[in-house]
Every structure is written in C-alpha cells, then in structure tokens.
C-alpha cells in the first residue's frame, strides 16, 4: 500500500517536472516566433513551420518522461 502511494508521488513529481521543462522550452521558442513575426509579418508562414518543428524537438524529452510516467502509473501505482 505504501509502495503504491510512493510510486504515485513519484509519478506526480515526474509529470510535474516534465510539464515545467516543456512549458519553459515551448515559451522560449514561441516568444522568438512572435518576435520574428513582429519584425517581418510577411514571413509568417515559413517561420511558423520552423516554430512547430522547434516545439516538436524541444518537447522530445518531456514527452518521453510523460510516457514513462504513464507506464509507471499503470504498472506500479494505482490505476
């Protein structure tokens, strides 16, 4: 019972820190995107494509942590 509870707390920590990392990284990419569009509004389309690819690359590790957290939640924690 205690082991399950400890694993629940571990999963919560894992997902929380992954969300922090993801939020900070995406915020940096998107702020640069908005700055770039403010400088040159015609380049909106191509910079948007690069911004989305940047988000996908930055979110790689947080989403790996999310996948591990979900696996741990289903095998060792409650649920």
């Amino acid at each position: 019972m205690l082991t399950k509870a400890l694993f629940d707390i571990a999963v919560a920590l894992l997902l929380g820190l992954a969300a922090v990392g993801s939020g900070v990284g995406d915020g940096l990419v998107m702020s640069k995107y908005v700055e770039g569009v403010a400088r040159q509004p015609e380049a909106r389309g191509s910079i948007f494509a690069s911004a989305l690819i940047g988000v996908a690359l930055v979110e790689a590790f947080p989403v790996i942590a999310l996948a591990f957290g979900i696996i741990m939640l289903f095998t060792k924690g409650s649920l």
Binding site: L52, I53, F61, V63, I64, L66, A67, I70, T75
Partner: protein
Amino acid sequence: MPAFPYLFSNSIFRINLTTIAMMILTGLVVLIVLRLSIRKLDMRKPRGLQNLIEWAIDFTANMARDTMPSEQVVQWILPLAFTMMIYLFVANWLGVIATVAIQQHQPIPLLGITAASLAAAHGEVPLFDSPTANMSMTLGMAFMVWVLSHAVGLRHPRQYFRHYLQNPLGILEEFTNPLTHGMRLFGNIFAGEALAGVILTMPMLFGFVPTGFPFLLIWLLYSGFVSTIQAYVFTILMTLYVGQKSFVGGVHHT
C-alpha cells in the same frame, strides 16, 4: 498495461502480434494508396490523388535538400524518406482513428496471455492500435537509421574516421541520437493513446450524459496534429543523420 498477445512469450525475443499485424496493415494501406495514385498516370496535367502524392514527394525532396550535402545524396535518399514519411503518417494516425480492445477473462497460454497479465490489465487485450505506440518498433526504426548512416559513412573511411578524431565527443552523439530519435516518436504516440484511454473511463454525468466527449474531441484533434508533426520530424532527422555521415562530393561538415 494492456495484455498484448505475444509469440515466444517466455524468451527475450518475444513478438508482439498486435504490433506486427498493425505494421503489416499500415504497409498494405500505403501500398494500396500509392498504387491507386498511379492508375491514370498523366504526366502533363496531374489531377487528384496523383497530384497530392507528387506534392508530397516535392515536399520531401525540399526537406531533404536542407539537410543533405549534395543533390546526388538527396536523390538517393528520396525513396526511403518519402516511404518513411507516408508510412509513419499512416501508422501514427491509425491510433487516432480507432483503438479496439477486447475483454478477455480466460488466459490463453499459447499466445502468452497469462492470468497475471490479465489481472494487471483488467482483462484488456488490444487488437487495433498504432504500431508506433510500441517502444521496440520505434527504437528498431531508429536503429535501422543508425546502421544506414554508418554504412553510408564507411564508404569514405578516411573522412569518416577523421570526423571522429577531430571531435571525440561525437561518440556520445552516437548513443543519444538514435535513442532520442526512437523514444521521441514512441513517447508522443503512446502518451496520446494512453490519455485517450483515460478520458474514456471518465464517469458520465447522471449516468448517461457524456461529459468526457469534448475533452476527447479536443485531445483527438491535438493527437492527429502531433501524429503528423512527429512523422515529419522523424523523417527530417533521418535525412539529417544520414546526411551528416555521407561525405559524397568531398563536402566537409563541422
């Protein structure tokens, strides 16, 4: 974790039958769609599906040109890059379109569905989901890309070894690049499917009003978007990794 049907379930080479069946299904879908597109082949005025596939090939060629050293290598990698992109697009979208699982209460020892795994999965045996939601499949593809890049690099052994002598920390990249390459795709697709499953177990208001329906809709739309982006990111990283090691034309990379 759901109880998948396995072959050779007691050894380390166990084969996940659902994933294998889904990979074959994806291959069939890609084959049929591409075959249908060349039915009425019109070179001067392409229309319909042929126009769409030609746009996709142009898109892939432009994407490969940014990351590869010369036009010759782009033409060499174009079939693999295009196939990889279309295959991953279909494979990732299969989980968004449908996920089918059956409730199984009798253990089937021949297929590796034991009583313990059924108890851990609450009797859920999945039959239809994304093949890329399996860690082995995505890491297998990343390993294939890794082997391919080294095979291409070893065609020019002098530049290949000089690249490693110049920066020895490149050895570390050989471990982290395939690992993140595969795990990025796995994490995105698996988290999407698992969260969709959790939303489906949301209790309904008054017993019949589906409160989880808007959440599910929004999450499925986002999952479809992520599926497309991840197929594109996997392919562009594949061309990048192969292009970094293909020293065709004597081009030097830093």
